[in-house]
């Protein structure tokens, strides 16, 4: 029976080991799925699997040893399995007992057990749960495969993104390399700052772009931010900035140093006095070189200010072209050309605008406003079209004027509301309360341009294609008023209206009454 017990223990250990391996496998699958969702690397590895298997082995061994069956349990189990009529149990119970009946019983049981082969009952069998181990193994293999596929896809995506932005980033860095020495040569702080910013943007473009779809968006975003930077630079140089430039120019000559000092200190009156004083002295001594030197310094300062403004114009054009879907590399090249020209001292005009002429400040502002509208998603890509009078920078709107040339809002016009509630002209446009489908302007309608002029302030244009149709009433107001008036009167009579409010209520109803 001890031999049988060993086999039973081994069988029990195999069963428990299979069970705990299944549990460990399930745990590995859950852990792997969680790690996959979190994106924290491989879902599982060989070390983790070995650790789980070792833990299952230890737990199974401990559980088996803890619940090792006694000889009595083995005897009972074997009696039931072999159908020995409790002979083993009896033999075990009376193995040390005295008395002839018990001795006879033990002898009979022993002889029976000796004649019986118990190996068939104590044979080691493959645990029934063993095939189920394939399930977690397969799940883990699938997880591993899926994770690898996802990693490869991400790598491909990142490579594509890097390739998509590489050109733009290289262009930005090339720009930075070009304007850096020019900024150092001309001591232009804005150029240095711009060069540094370009380089930083290029690095960020490479680092943060994760997919090819985001490449253009990222480039656009960088351009927008550069635009913002340039806009700040493009702002009318503040008086302090001009003062500094002027002070710097005046400080280059000895005779005008005092005026320069006064300008730096912000004392304009003193600076004007010193400058006049210097002019009197120069006229007294017939000094022609100093004025000439001051003139050249002033020209240099003005050129510097103009260069900043041109750079701002170029950045805005660059952004506009990006929004229109142009290749970033192409726009970068244009910007590089402009900067190169500015750095070489050639004061050429800015690249021609879409209208064939240099853009003025007002046009630039209008363009910025249009870009804002495009940002807000209203007619993306649309450009405010130039009107007939191009010199004024017109903006046009389409009107719904009828083809017969009548102006909107004239008496007797049944198609358009007059705008006065209660007016007899607001007869409605349909006989039926539900309204009728109709073309608001008719087949003979034509587009008509309205003349206008852009003022000095900012202009915001919005295109509302559906404003006209939605504002029409589907029923005659007179009829509606007559239908609802009794109910309103009854409500007013029933309500306990405070005395002070009755006047306003009366005025209200008089206001909405259809007028004769």
């Amino acid at each position: 029976m001890r031999g049988v017990r060993r086999r039973i223990v081994a069988q029990t250990f195999l069963e428990r080991l299979t069970f705990h391996l299944l549990a460990a496998g399930a745990g590995l699958v859950v852990l792997g799925a969680w790690r996959r969702l979190q994106g924290t690397g491989e879902p599982w590895d060989a070390r983790l699997a070995l650790a789980a298997a070792a833990a299952a082995l230890v737990v199974a061994a401990l559980a088996t040893l803890r619940r090792r069956p006694t000889l009595g349990v083995v005897a009972r189990w074997l009696d039931q399995a072999a159908g020995t009529r409790d002979r083993l149990l009896t033999a075990l119970a009376f193995s040390t007992a005295a008395g002839e009946p018990r001795a006879l019983a033990v002898q009979e049981c022993t002889e029976f057990a000796a004649r019986t082969d118990f190996r068939a009952q104590a044979r080691l069998r493959v645990p029934a749960r063993l095939p189920w181990l394939l399930v977690p193994a397969l799940a883990l293999a699938l997880l591993q495969w899926e994770t690898r596929m996802a990693v490869e896809a991400r790598a491909l995506q990142a490579a594509a993104a890097r390739a998509a932005v590489e050109d733009s980033a290289r262009q930005l860095e090339a720009l930075a390399r070009r304007i850096e020495p020019q900024g150092a040569a001309t001591d232009a702080g804005e150029l240095k700052k711009m060069a540094e910013e370009l380089r930083r943007r290029a690095e960020r473009l490479r680092a943060e772009t994760s997919s090819a779809e985001d490449a253009q968006k990222a480039a656009l975003r960088e351009i927008s931010e550069l635009e913002q930077l340039v806009r700040e630079m493009q702002k009318q140089p503040s008086a302090s900035r001009e003062m500094q430039e002027l002070a710097q120019a005046l400080g280059q000559t000895e005779k005008t140093q005092a005026a320069a000092e006064a300008l730096r200190g912000g004392d304009l009156a003193k600076a004007a006095e010193e400058l006049e004083k210097s002019l009197r002295e120069m006229a007294k001594h017939k000094d022609e070189r100093t004025p000439e030197a001051v003139k050249q310094a002033l020209e240099q300062a003005l050129k510097h200010l103009a260069d900043q403004r041109r750079l701002s114009e170029q950045m805005q054009q660059l952004r506009q072209q990006m929004q229109q879907g142009g290749a970033a590399s192409q726009t970068m090249k244009q910007l590089a050309e402009a900067l190169r020209k500015m750095g070489g001292g050639k004061t050429q005009d800015a690249p021609p605008s879409p209208g064939g002429r240099p853009m003025t400040e007002q046009e630039m502002k209008a363009l910025l406003a249009a870009l804002q509208n495009m940002k807000n998603g209203e007619g993306g890509g649309q450009q405010p079209q130039t009107g007939r009078d191009q010199g004024r920078g017109l903006a046009t709107m389409e009107s719904f004027a009828p083809a017969d040339g009548s102006q909107p809002g004239q008496p007797g016009d049944r198609q358009l509301p007059a705008g006065n509630p209660g007016s007899e002209k607001d007869q409605g446009t349909t006989e039926s309360p539900l309204g009728e489908e109709r073309d608001p302007a008719g087949k003979k309608a034509r587009a008509q341009q309205l003349a206008g002029r852009l003022g000095e302030g900012e202009t915001l244009q919005q295109f509302l294609p559906s404003a006209g149709d939605a504002s029409r009433a589907g029923r005659r107001y007179q009829e509606l008023y007559e239908a609802m008036a009794p109910a309103a009167q009854e409500a007013v009579l029933q309500e306990n209206i405070p005395l002070g409010s009755r006047f306003f209520i009366k005025r209200y109803f008089e206001a909405i009454r259809p007028r004769e």
Binding site: L89, E100, L104, E108
Partner: protein, 328 residues
Amino acid sequence: MSEYAAKVENFCTVFRRVHTEMCKMMVGQDDILEGVLVALFAGGHVLLEGVPGLGKTMLVRTLAEAVNVKFSRVQFTPDLMPADIVGTNIIMEDEQGRKGFRFQPGPIFANIVLADEINRATPKTQSALLEAMQEHHVTVGGTLHRLQQPFLVLATQNPLEMEGTYPLPEAQLDRFFFKLKVKFPTAEDLHTILERTTTASAPIIVNALHDPQEVLALREVVRDVPLAREVQAYAIDLVLCTHPDDPHATPLAKKYVRYGASPRGAQALILAGKIYALLDGRYHVACADIAKATLAALRHRIILNFEGEAEGTSTDEVIAEILRQNPA
């Protein structure tokens, strides 16, 4: 061969011989014969339940002839008095003319007593059997009169006639070792019965035992059969499962049983199991032997509640479920 082995072999021989002799008269009731013999050699009493005309009286008479013991029959009627069973003192005149009381033993003073239709007698009369069945003696007029040994009571019940009957109380039912249900014979068995009973030749019963005291010796052999503790635990589990409050009780027991089997039921299981083990050629008792005796030993010791009786549930169904839940 050791002495004990010889005794065991003798037991088996006598048992089979008595069984064979009884089979000459009884046809198709092997399980009933075996049960009655088991009760005889276990020292218990038997309650036979069956419709009239199945040979219950014949069975008891045949048993008495085969075992060579004294047999008496008592027909229980509603007007039967206890004194009609146990006996009474009567006034007798001796040769000198002096009058005095003398005990006249009743029919209970036999080795095998057939109490026919015991449920027809009044409870007072039924209780007259209680002392005799348990103590093997009766008290009449303050005088203790011992009964002959071996003493076996075989009571019969007619399940058909319930009107005007007095169901046996639980205390008396518990004193019966086995309750055996006599089934109606099959067609083949009826052929045999008719051939034996309607012809001129009648079978002759041979005494299997020469001395009734041999039964007592054989009872000792039965009690000497060793029983492992695990097997005894199995018997105890079976009895405990009949109690509705026990955690191991089956659903039927919990639902339909009011009172479960008493310790006498466990005693019956053990003694019957020992006899079955000897008959199987073993010197030890197996759980299968206990399971074999469960139905006959416990069916009359389980009291159903009102719901069980209303649902028509039988104690046999309860015991069958217990055996399914506790396989041997």
